[in-house]
Structure formats: structure tokens, C-alpha cells
């Protein structure tokens, strides 16, 4: 069974700091997703990573994928309060898409 491990589970950051969220998975994948979820809301797609070495950036968030290590990272640069949310990675392997446990990010002034 496809397993996805995400860490840390909780992350409290000061505004302006950098940090990285890690996502490991257990089998080969077709694609890897990063989602953002605000309390009581649905999952908002941030990135889709398809191939080894893929890197995508949007604003202060950058995601990368290393398929050989079965590892994806979500890097946060110069965090701002608006980034406070829960971030999930999800791995899709032959129509079986599983989520990590989520990282609850709190950015403090």
C-alpha cells in the first residue's frame, strides 16, 4: 500500500523566516501534489510535480521533487501571516492517491 509521510506535523514560524516541509512516499508515483487547506475549507491545489527534478514556484512557496529519493519538499521563503494554513502533500500512483498527515503552519508576527 502506498504510504506518505509528511513532517513536521506542526510548524510555528516567525514572519520573515524560511522553512521546509518534507514529504516522503513509499512507491513509485505518477505525480505529486501539494495542497493548502484553510480551516473549514476544501483543498486548494498549489503544485503538481510530474517528473524527477521538477521545481515549481509560486510567490513565497517553492516545491521540488526527487523521485529517486521519493521525496518532495515545500520551501517557504520569508513567511508572512497569510501563509498560515495546513499544507498537505498527496502522491498519486496508478489511480491510488494518498495524502500525508498534513503540516499545520502558523506564522507569527
Amino acid at each position: 500500500e502506498l504510504k506518505v509521510e509528511q513532517n513536521p506535523l506542526f510548524l510555528s514560524m516567525q514572519e520573515g523566516k524560511n522553512y521546509t516541509i518534507y514529504c516522503n512516499y513509499s512507491t513509485t508515483s505518477d505525480r505529486l501534489y501539494w495542497y493548502r487547506q484553510d480551516p473549514g475549507k476544501s483543498l486548494e491545489s498549489l503544485f503538481v510535480l510530474l517528473s524527477n527534478g521538477a521545481v515549481k514556484q509560486e510567490g513565497r512557496l517553492m516545491a521540488s521533487l526527487d523521485t529517486k529519493a521519493r521525496l518532495s519538499t515545500l520551501h517557504i521563503t520569508a513567511a508572512v501571516h497569510d501563509l498560515s494554513a495546513t499544507y498537505f502533500c498527496a502522491v498519486d500512483s496508478i489511480n491510488d492517491m494518498r495524502f500525508g498527515a498534513g503540516t499545520r503552519l502558523t506564522v507569527k508576527p
Binding site: 491545489s45 498519486d92 492517491m97
Partner: protein
């Protein structure tokens, strides 16, 4: 922008009753998923569906659950006899048909009393 639509947004049901959660995936998508999320917890995979049959299902998806695509647009999740622990947000997602993204609906909040 195309979107996945789920109805109802909130359903309250008595324990032991049957509920049907409805989803309208994006029209040219081919792969459909149901997930549930107990409040504040992780997103749990229930089932995936392709070519009018179940592709994968988790250990949560036991005999009380079923899925159907009764026509060309709707994708439903039925819970036959609800339990208190079925209270959660249920999300539908779809992908495929040339799209690399998996889009999620807004969810149905199911409350079993």
C-alpha cells in the same frame, strides 16, 4: 474555470439511516475519488473509480459504503447505515482527461446524531 461540485454542503442524519453524497466531477475527467476528513485530522482515502468500476479502496471502505456513477455526470457515495464515527467532511475529487491536476469539491459535512 471548471469545478467539482458537491451536494449537499451539510447533511445531518440519524444514526442507522442511509445517506447519499453527490458529486459532479469535471466533465472530461476520467478518475474519481472520495476522501473523508474528520475535523482537524488527516485526509483519508476511501475509494477511487475509473471506467465505471472501483480501482482501489481503503480499509475504511467496508460493506456499508458503495459508489456509483448512475449517469454521465454524477458520482455518488452511499453510506448504508450511518454510525456516529462517520461524522466527517467528505470530499470528492476528479482528474484525468488530459489534466494533470486533481480538483476537489467543496465537501459535504456529514453529521450523524
Amino acid at each position: 474555470e471548471p469545478e467539482v461540485t458537491q451536494t449537499p454542503s451539510h447533511q445531518v442524519t440519524q444514526m442507522g439511516q442511509e445517506v447519499i453524497l453527490r458529486c459532479v466531477p469535471i466533465s472530461n475527467h476520467l478518475y474519481f475519488y472520495w476522501y473523508r476528513q474528520i475535523l482537524g485530522q488527516k485526509v483519508e482515502f476511501l475509494v477511487s473509480f475509473y471506467n465505471n468500476e472501483i480501482s482501489e479502496k481503503s480499509e475504511i471502505f467496508d460493506d456499508q459504503f458503495s459508489v456509483e456513477r448512475p449517469d454521465g455526470s454524477n458520482f455518488t457515495l452511499k453510506i448504508r447505515s450511518t454510525k456516529l464515527e462517520d461524522s466527517a467532511m467528505y470530499f470528492c475529487a476528479s482528474t484525468g482527461g488530459g489534466s494533470t491536476e486533481a480538483f476537489f469539491g467543496q465537501g459535504t459535512r456529514l453529521t450523524v446524531v
